[in-house]
Amino acid sequence: MKDLKIQIVIIVSVVVLSGCALFTTHYDATRHENFTKLQAYHVKFINDFTEGGAKKWSLNAINTVCDAGDLKYREALVYAKSKDNKDGTGARAVTNLKEQFEADCHFSKTKEKEFSKRWSAEHLEQINLNYGYAVASELTRVDKPE
C-alpha cells in the first residue's frame, strides 16, 4: 500500500511539474466574439470593394475602411494580450488576422482599383478558413461553456 501511495505521489508530481509550463490560455467569450466581429468586417470589406460590389474604389474610401478596421484589430489585440497566459496563443491568433487585414488594405492601395471577382472568390475562401480556425481554437480551450 505504501508503494502505491509513493507511486501516485510521483505520478501526480510529474504531471503537475511537466504540465504547468504547458498550460494554455482559457476560453474567453469576448475574444471569441471579437473573432466573429472581425470576420464580418473583413469579409464585408472584400465584398464591398470587389468588381460589381457595393462601393467604388477611391483612396479616400479605402482609407476610411482601413483606418476604422485598424482600430478594431488593435483593440482586439490589446484585449487578447491582456487575457493571454505565457503561451501567447490568443494574441498570436489575432495578430495573424490583423496582418491579413493590413495586407488586404495594402493590396487594394497598390492595385488602385476594385478586387477582381476571381481573386476575391479564392481569397474569401481562405479568409473564412483563417477566422474559422481562430474560432475553432477558442472552442477547444479549457473552461469553454457547454
Binding site: 500500500m1 503561451d87 491568433a93 495586407a103 481569397h123
Partner: protein, 108 residues
C-alpha cells in the same frame, strides 16, 4: 492550359528546371499526404498556378493568395497548439482532482 504538368514542363534552363522538378516533387507529396491542411494547400497552389497560367490571376494576385494561405496554415498550427495544450491541462488537472478529492480518504 488545363494541366499543371504543362506549366511545369522542362524549359532547357537548368536552374529553372531544377526548381520546377523540386516543386513537382513537393506538390505530389502534399497531394498524397493524409493531413487535410497539407493536401488542401497542394490542391490550392496547383489551382492558382493554373489560374495564373490561364490569365485568371495576375502575379500580384497569385502572390497575395499564397501569402494568405501561409497565414491560414500558421493559424492552423496555432489551433493545433491550443488544442494540444488544452487537452494536456484537462487530463492532468482531471487526474489531480480525482486523486485529491476522491482517492485520499476513500482508498487509503
Amino acid at each position: 492550359m488545363s494541366d499543371i504538368s504543362e506549366v511545369l514542363k522542362e524549359t532547357g534552363d537548368e536552374a529553372l528546371d531544377f526548381i520546377k522538378a523540386s516543386f513537382k516533387e513537393l506538390l505530389l507529396e502534399s497531394k498524397n499526404d493524409s493531413k487535410t491542411v497539407i493536401k488542401e494547400t497542394g490542391r490550392k497552389i496547383e489551382k492558382w498556378l493554373l489560374m495564373r497560367a490561364n490569365d485568371g490571376l495576375d502575379d500580384d494576385e497569385l502572390e497575395s493568395l499564397l501569402n494568405t494561405r501561409r497565414r491560414v496554415v500558421r493559424q492552423f498550427l496555432n489551433t493545433q497548439e491550443i488544442a494540444s495544450r488544452a487537452r494536456l491541462e484537462k487530463i492532468s488537472i482531471g487526474l489531480i482532482d480525482i486523486v485529491a478529492n476522491k482517492f485520499i480518504g476513500a482508498i487509503f
